[in-house]
């Protein structure tokens, strides 16, 4: 089951995770009341119920939770090109306010359309041709077959657009953290996750954590944590030798 379908039962919200995000984006849910740690705990509980680590689900979850954290930090809702990390809180608040106002206007327009539709309920008109009308003949000029080739070529060359594009996040590749941690493990048999990712953005921290899960899945490391929210300890697995793996990033999750 995808992470976005994760059922949540929080104080402020009950329902699937993706609905929570949608409500937050639409300003229908007060973000201050959303317990992000509760979301994480719910996910961890579900993970614990399973024997196998579902890396795809983890990746998606981390991406979504990172989105939520970024939102909560008021730095998410930047314009297409703006670098999120460069946004100061005031600019981010401005951006968020603009975006919410934009959505409000759309809702107003939708309400106007709904009223209009109701008012026009009594207007019946014919859909389709008249019963005794001649069938219109459509003629087409001679066409160039090169247009067909061009159409297919364009379809075959179409760049894949980003999923979750509306969240407008930029994801650093997991590979970057994989190499970094592997290099670290060559020098040290154990390290502390929190101190390694100190100073990174939340998004980078989330992707770094994903890299940890990947290393653990491959049996390269062991993870331990004394208590929830205590520092995460990483220990090199003596049996495994660090090796290069295929590039993998959060976007392909």
């Amino acid at each position: 089951m995808p992470a976005r379908e994760l059922e949540l039962d929080l104080e402020a919200f009950e329902g699937p995770f993706d609905l929570l995000l949608a409500l937050v984006l639409r300003d229908e849910l007060d973000l201050a009341e959303v317990d992000v740690a509760g979301v994480v705990l719910a996910f961890m509980e579900r993970l614990a119920e399973r024997d196998e680590l579902d890396l795809d689900a983890c990746g998606e979850f981390l991406v979504l939770v990172a989105a939520l954290l970024e939102l909560k930090a008021r730095a998410l809702l930047a314009g297409e090109a703006a670098d999120l990390e460069d946004l100061d809180p005031a600019a981010a608040a401005e951006e968020l306010a603009q975006r919410l106002a934009e959505y409000r206007r759309i809702k107003e327009a939708a309400a106007w359309l709904a009223e209009r539709l109701e008012a026009e309920r009594e207007r019946y008109f014919r859909l389709g041709p008249a019963p005794l009308a001649p069938a219109p003949e459509r003629r087409l000029e001679q066409q160039d077959p090169a247009a067909l080739a061009a159409a297919l070529r364009a379809l075959a060359a179409e760049p894949p657009a980003l999923s979750l594009a509306h969240l407008e996040l930029r994801f650093p590749p997991v590979e970057r953290f994989l190499s970094r941690f592997r290099a670290l493990l060559l020098r040290r048999s154990r390290f502390d996750f929190d101190s390694e990712v100190d100073g990174m953005t939340r998004l980078e921290q989330a992707v770094a954590f994903l890299a940890l899960l990947e290393l653990r899945k491959g049996g390269e490391i062991e993870l331990s944590q004394a208590a929830p929210f205590a520092p995460i300890r990483i220990q090199r697995n003596a049996a495994a030798k660090p090796e290069r793996r295929e590039a993998w990033n959060a976007r392909s999750a």
Partner: protein, 199 residues
């Protein structure tokens, strides 16, 4: 003349006639007396009488809208006086080109061979129903049996398609060697792209 006119306006039969007018102008096929009676909640006899009134009003030579009784029922048609103008209305000018959606769909079917609507939708990443219906209506594609596994109707290009694109046969389509030498190869490529594309 004023007085009888007012009387007619107040007459429920005239009211019924107006409702019938309304029904007939919305209908896409001739309506029977039974259908009209049911829709108006009136009896067949009164509907017949009202139709008689309307036939008088919407009569050839008197009105551009003519009420006609055909085998299946009653329907409005254009008066014969307007035949020439109607001819011009329905004779559409020769169209210069096809929409991007139509061209893409034709390209998929022409290059990959018979495809079903679900296949076309998957490859293009958008629903194909209206585009396919439009191309069928124009005679550029036609049904070609059903997909073996799913049972969906498949479509092929028609001889008219070949004429419009000036092709003796599909083997004359411009080569797409950069995409793949075989239709299968091109199809695989499009499919993997479609999968990568957000739904």
């Amino acid at each position: 003349m004023e007085r009888p006119l007012r009387l007619v306006a107040a007459n429920p039969l005239d009211r019924l006639a107006r409702t019938l007018e309304a029904l007939l102008v919305v209908a896409s096929q001739p309506l029977s007396v039974a259908e009209l009676a049911e829709a108006t909640g009136d009896d067949a006899e009164r509907v017949e009488t009202a139709l008689g009134l309307l036939s008088e009003r919407f009569h050839e030579g008197r009105s551009g809208i003519v009420l006609e009784k055909v085998a299946a029922g009653w329907a409005f048609r254009a008066s014969r006086d307007a035949a020439e103008a109607c001819g011009r209305l329905f004779e559409r000018p020769v169209e210069r080109g096809l929409s991007a959606a139509a061209l893409e769909t034709l390209a998929v079917i022409a290059y990959l061979g018979p495809c079903s609507r679900p296949e076309i939708a998957r490859l293009r990443g958008v629903a194909a129903d209206s585009v396919v219906a439009g191309l069928v209506e124009r005679g550029l594609i036609a049904e070609a049996g059903r997909d073996q596994s799913v049972g969906a109707v498949r479509y092929r290009v028609t001889p008219l398609f070949e004429r419009v694109f000036g092709l003796e046969s599909l083997s004359e389509l411009p080569r797409l060697d950069d995409l793949g030498s075989e239709a299968e190869e091109i199809r695989d490529r499009l499919e993997s792209l479609a999968e990568a594309r957000p739904a």
